[in-house]
Symmetry: C2
Subunit: 322 residues, 2 copies
């Protein structure tokens, strides 16, 4: 089956890989649409020593299932969890497979990803897409879940002053999600085109320079850069909270004494729950149309990756099937 | 008046400094006993570019007051807040002068410290020491307040598994404080003599090496070392909490992606409230006698500082008056 392959040398190639083999309780999907994420770009550059088929943001249609009991799903349009737990540990029992120590991560860790014509996934990892939701919107379920995760982790008061650092794909989702709580959200970033989109989304732009006494109760670091954390904490008032969203290869250097003296709380935040993300998308509670930069057919994946890596690019989609 | 002076070149000297001048609402104290803290040792080495009289852990007797309304305090034995706020901002109004952006910090920032025969302090910063509490115990009020601050910041369940990294003065106070919540506390450190004291205090010692799947819900980093944070987060289970207590000059390097992927919460923690610290000491809820390593007269401050800096030294006291 045709797929995007990262050989581990920085290239992005399209080639034939072996057809996925269904395990027990799994479904075979025809992948329809995929979204390229910052992590995919990092994997292409060698993050985590990844080799193989990337892709963890997708929409597909169930083609077949290994268990007759799951036959009802055949033909359904679905998105999927990216963390596949062992289903046998305490984390999985709590519905937190995304922290299962033996998890595989779709297109990231020990599991072939979704940038392929066909994909096998456990039925337990699937979520049916509401009929009214277009593929082009549903493909945002995974990054929106990651944005919504912040609301599961951190209380956001309507009176809060919030700074979202990073005007990329994730930053603009996070800013919309936090705005929905009534908080006053500012966005900062380096790309005029993205900040313009932020403005059109009704978000305020953070003026520079940093004031001597920071006013933000909550700062979300979604710059994707290792230098973002130290900058983020300096925008945060004493006893405030910094949410860490960037995963960068290698160590991050920051002034930890500042965090101690200011008694900041730094919260690492990764993947979230898919169900509320689909609900939010179906209800139109966030706008994703302005975040779509381009769409490429699977055959042109190298161009798609190059486009997604350009400064100011937001979400670049990969079309696997019409 | 005779005082310890750090000239900023690494030396510790004892010399005459000008007598403190009382401002409005201030009290003049005869300092009785001081405690040397890790921060004092760092200041001696040049942290924060400090020059002057250090010392922020002390017990003294009120000699005189500038306002007749405060005359009742004359003769009282007191300890003092180390953060002196402007008394005019929102932080000070909330009783959080320790986060006042215009604060002075006793013996650390823009305010001469307590390692002197005489000390001037605002009456509002004083706390009367219960009569039953010996100087040698009361001098632990400030570091114990810093340990108790953790309980104000982080919920500690009786079922929690806790690791306190650092077998120094602060670590052994923190471990006792957290144990009082019923949590299972382990201590790790590099000094056999300190770990022996930890055992005598009823604390468990963390066996090495680190297990592949960390079990601690809460890890307190009190090593005083910049490498402590990365090590601390690796002892913490997913979604657990790391309390950061070390203030080191210069940047700290750590694998921030680990904190993001594990969704850890890192909490900076500094000074705490003095009132509960005095209550805990008076009630004997923590043992401080095993933490006293030595006592020196003011004149021998250079020896006292050298002793406090020795590996395995716990609290070294400076006697200013009998």
């Amino acid at each position: 089956v045709q797929a995007v392959v990262l050989p581990g040398d920085g290239r992005v190639v399209v080639s034939e890989v072996s057809d996925p083999v269904l395990g027990p309780g799994e479904a075979l999907l025809d992948v329809r649409l995929g979204g390229i994420c910052g992590t995919d770009l990092q994997l292409a550059r060698g993050y985590m020593g990844f080799r193989g088929v990337p892709g963890h943001e997708f929409v597909g249609t169930v083609r077949s299932v290994s268990s007759p009991a799951d036959r009802v799903l055949v033909g359904a349009r679905v998105v999927g969890e990216i963390n596949l737990g062992c289903q046998d540990c305490g984390w999985c029992a709590k519905g937190l497979s995304r922290h299962c120590p033996r998890r595989r991560v779709l297109g990231i860790l020990e599991r072939q990803g979704a940038f392929a014509r066909r994909l096998a996934l456990p039925v337990s990892a699937l979520h049916v897409v509401p009929g009214t939701l277009a593929d082009e919107d549903a493909v945002f379920a995974e990054p929106l879940a990651a944005a919504l995760e912040i609301l599961d982790q951190v209380p956001v008061e309507p009176s809060a002053s919030v700074l979202v650092m990073g005007d990329g794909r994730l930053g603009l989702l996070i800013a919309q999600v936090i705005s929905s709580r009534g908080a006053r959200v500012m966005v900062s970033g380096r790309h005029d085109s993205c900040l313009e989109i932020a403005s059109r989304l009704g978000l305020a732009i953070q003026p520079a320079p940093r004031p001597p006494e920071p006013v933000h109760d909550l700062v979300v670091e979604a710059t994707g850069s290792a230098s973002g954390l130290d900058e983020a904490q300096r925008w945060c008032r004493p006893r405030g909270t910094v949410v860490m969203k960037s995963t960068c290869a290698g160590p991050t250097s920051f002034d930890a004494s500042h965090a101690v003296v200011q008694e900041l709380t730094l919260v690492g935040s990764r993947c979230g729950r898919m169900e509320p993300a689909l609900e939010w998308l179906a209800a139109g509670r966030v706008q994703v149309a302005p975040l779509r930069t381009a769409e490429y057919p699977l055959e042109e994946a190298p161009d798609a990756f190059a486009h997604a890596a350009r400064p100011g690019a937001l979400k670049v989609l990969l079309r696997m099937a019409p």
